[in-house]
Amino acid sequence: MKSLSPSSQAPVPHPRPLHASAFATLLSGLLTLGLPIPISLPAAETPATPAATTPASTTPAATDTQERGANAEKAAEAPDAQEAAETPETPEPTEAAPGDYRNWFDVTVGGLMVDGDQAAAQRRLGLPASAFGGSQRFHFEQDVGKKGLFKVDGRGIFDNEDYGLRLEWSDPDIGYVRGGIDQYREYYDGSGGWFPGNDTWFDLYDDNFDLVRGSAFFEVGLRLPKLPEITLRYQSDWRDGLKDSTHWGDTSLTGGAGPRAIVPAFRNIDESTDAISIDIRKTLGKVTFGGAFAYEHSDLDNATYLRRSPFQGADRHITQRETVESDLYSARAFADTLFNDKVRLTSSYAFTTLETDLGGSRILGADYDPIYDPVYGRRDIGFLGLSGGSQLDQHVWNVNGMWTPVPHLALIPAFRVENQSLDGMSSWTDTGAETLAREAANNRDMLDLSQQLELRYTGVTNLVLYARGDWVQGDGNLFEYQLLRNTGETELRRDSDFDRFAQKYTAGAHWYPLKRLNVHTQYYRKMRSTDYDDAAPGFINVSGSYPAFIEAQDFTTDDFNIRVTWRPLDKLTLVSRYDLQFNTYETRAAGLGETQGARGVAHIIGETVTWTPFSRFYLQPGVNYVLDSTQSDAASAINPGSPVEDSNNDYLQVTCTAGVVLDDKTDFQAQYTYYLSDNFRDISTYSQPYGSGTEEHGILASLIRRISPRLRVTLRYGFYTSRDELSGGHNDYDAHLVSTSAQYLF
């Protein structure tokens, strides 16, 4: 069966394992492919991990993967295999082998019970704090004609807006028709900040937010022999709901510490996009060429809701609404030539144009979504009647090659040119202390030249050496102005040329000194420099020196990482990883010397162990320990009295997964997760603290019983607890997850 196209590899709608990402590993494994817990061990890195299935089981012995290719016979001589071979009778099949059944149906019922902050638990665990149920996944396929295949995949979980349906008919000699709809809900916690000075915390609304994200598509692909491949596709995407915001309002209820911005805010998202495209390609001899056209229409109607000084005299609500309608047209053409086994050349050109229409307002009132009241007493910055739009044109041309001049040496050069041209304007009426009509416009042109060269050398046994350079040179011009319509006064005028130069140099090696040991190491240095040259030194800005105050910036990153995979014993595999990274950020502002804005150091240490001490038991603990600090001369450590602290993102994350075969039909699986970030420091006397301080535990236990080779039932219990210092305990929770599911193969 030939692959129809790259897009034919698109994933079908997935089952939605009932957990958050932290617990994703376990349940994904339970619910996909009918396999036990996925402690995936890619053979490239750990070619030594044995699958301990015995020949006596319904699934033949998986070979020792280290010596799998040449030593299949040895695998049969493995202790487990010998033990099984001595078994006098072959037991009844208890489990279907992969490929035995083509179709399946999962049914799940469960519930999440939360003690504590429900919004925080829902956001973290990705589940509603209620009962849920339905089908996590069903799959049905049926042969049609000699080569045709009809497939249906879907899922539906009630009370979670979690639905998916995908239908496809395909025939390798004709093409395919496929279509589907997919939708799921994301949860958000709309709480604000906590001021530890006097334990100030605002509960202004129900902060159990959620947002539904969905898409629907229909695609037809013609794959008729000797004719060009033609693909037509329509897709619609949407997002609709409420989510949290970190644009918090301010309060003075801080026990005399001064104003702090901790009042919660949220966003109302209503976005939709419709896109249609046609893609044509044809192969003639050694050349594959083609073209595509796409049109996309987007409609965004979003709002941000803030509140300032609640429960004080200056209490007011702010609603900022922004609407953007956009039309995007894109056309491209490409050619891919395989001259011979040693030389390949691809080239493409694309043109894209984007047009937008703007609308919006920022209105203050006694409640959210108010009607503008010109005599509303609590004046604040705001605006009305935003209108305008932009047009962005982009041309991209690239050429990529691959050349193997001599055996074991490959060169991969790439060249890319991009030109962007942007024009935009807007007008609005400011409603601050005075009502003033303003307009603004911009114009930006930029040209980027990107080059890349990679060399790979495989001439040394069991070793790959590679090096790569990336360079981007860019220059352009940015023009901005702002006009006060009432008087015609130019309030802002900026005319800046900018030059950018980005470089990245990478070198690395993949070394396989033993079948049981491989080492991968890499170093890269990345540098980006940008210079701004203001062509109108007498720029005007009523509010100070912005914009065009920054004249130059240099960012540098050095990163070294190493990964070692080692199998000291047949049933023990260790994967170790260490990553060291340095970052510096330097800036030069108008009339000032160069300043190092910040410097960062990160140590990322990871260790994963896979241990199968018995054929019926495995254990896979993993740990990630990160020390990540960004320090600045602006911070109080160097600048005493500064209201800014260095930023630390240290954390410890531990996962331990275990699986046990209890009998011929029953498995028990468990996972424990632990997370600790201990960066919170109470600096409330001079600023608002933000350092994360969270400790989490999670335990998930599953009992899997194979009623028959076709039917499997799973019982599952999970307990999750979180303690959050940053919210003063207001976002703490304990949660219990109980669910049961059945999978039927047919």
Partner: protein
């Protein structure tokens, strides 16, 4: 005031010291569980199966994959993962099955469902080498990779070219990976934030962060990395010739109500809203 007679203050307890009782309990539990499992399951012949080894499958080599999936295997030579393929006896079988698991059952069944590993649904396959990302995706603020909503290939193309979907090697294509879903950040804006041209990763850690919105830093350091310009006196921070000291005490630059339009603004040159 410290009244201790010991002039040397005791060092702060290490993490291991503070949690030694928990660690001891965990180790003891594992030991007991191991013994119990050994005893309790001694009567069973069935063994656990360790993915990504499809039960009963053996390695057949990448050439077999090429028979049906040539649109994926042909451009693979340009992919960064192709670098893993070395010449020599210790690096045999490195190829498609490194990530997709042994393929014999898949081949023999003519590509039947449930016979091959799809790393897009089982990112553990990717995490095995990129183990640091397993930790990042498990952080409290992360993209939902691993629970079926997103896969690694949503943003990365493991089969060809640069590691980003798209055809180019510049940061602009990296931004496209983000803007495909986060359309309201696309703009264009009348007053742009230059950081957007540097890339979304200037401010966000896309795999996961300890901070909300997957921010690289939660406090004003995020902005001061690029915008800290002048120390006009003890504790005083001047940015753009304006003393920001009291503003910064209220909260971070974008949280405190001063620069909300961090992705760009249609009405404010200082990205106020």
């Amino acid at each position: 005031m410290n009244n201790s007679t010991d002039p040397t203050p005791a060092p702060p307890p290490t993490w291991v010291h503070r949690h030694r009782s928990k660690l001891a309990f965990l180790a003891a539990s594992l030991a007991v569980a191991s013994i119990a499992v050994s005893c309790a399951t001694s009567g069973s012949n069935r063994g656990v199966v360790l993915p990504a080894a499809i039960s009963g499958a053996e390695y057949v080599g990448s050439e077999a994959c090429d028979q049906c999936h040539d649109t994926l295997t042909k451009p693979f030579a340009s992919a960064p993962h192709f670098r893993l393929i070395a010449q020599g006896p210790n690096a045999v079988d490195v190829g498609c099955e490194s990530c997709h698991g042994p393929g014999s059952v898949h081949v023999e069944s003519g590509g039947a469902a449930r016979t091959i590993i799809n790393p897009d649904r089982q990112p553990e396959t990717c995490f095995h080498c990129h183990s640091n990302l397993r930790g990042q995706f498990a952080l409290p603020h992360a993209h939902p990779v691993g629970d079926g909503r997103l896969g690694c290939s949503t943003c990365h193309n493991p089969h060809s070219g640069d590691a980003f979907s798209g055809t180019a090697s510049t940061l602009a294509s990296a931004n496209e990976s983000c803007l495909a879903c986060h359309q309201s950040q696309r703009g264009p804006h009348i007053f742009e934030h230059e950081a957007m041209r540097e890339g979304c990763l200037s401010c966000h850690a896309p795999h996961g962060s300890v901070n909300p919105k997957m921010l690289s830093q939660r406090n004003s350091i995020l902005c001061l990395k690029c915008h800290f310009q002048q120390q006009a006196g003890p504790g005083r921070i001047v940015i753009g010739a304006i003393d920001h000291t009291t503003f910064l005490s209220r909260g971070s630059c974008w949280s405190a109500g001063c620069h909300e339009a961090v992705h760009g603004s249609q009405v404010s040159s200082s990205l106020r809203f």
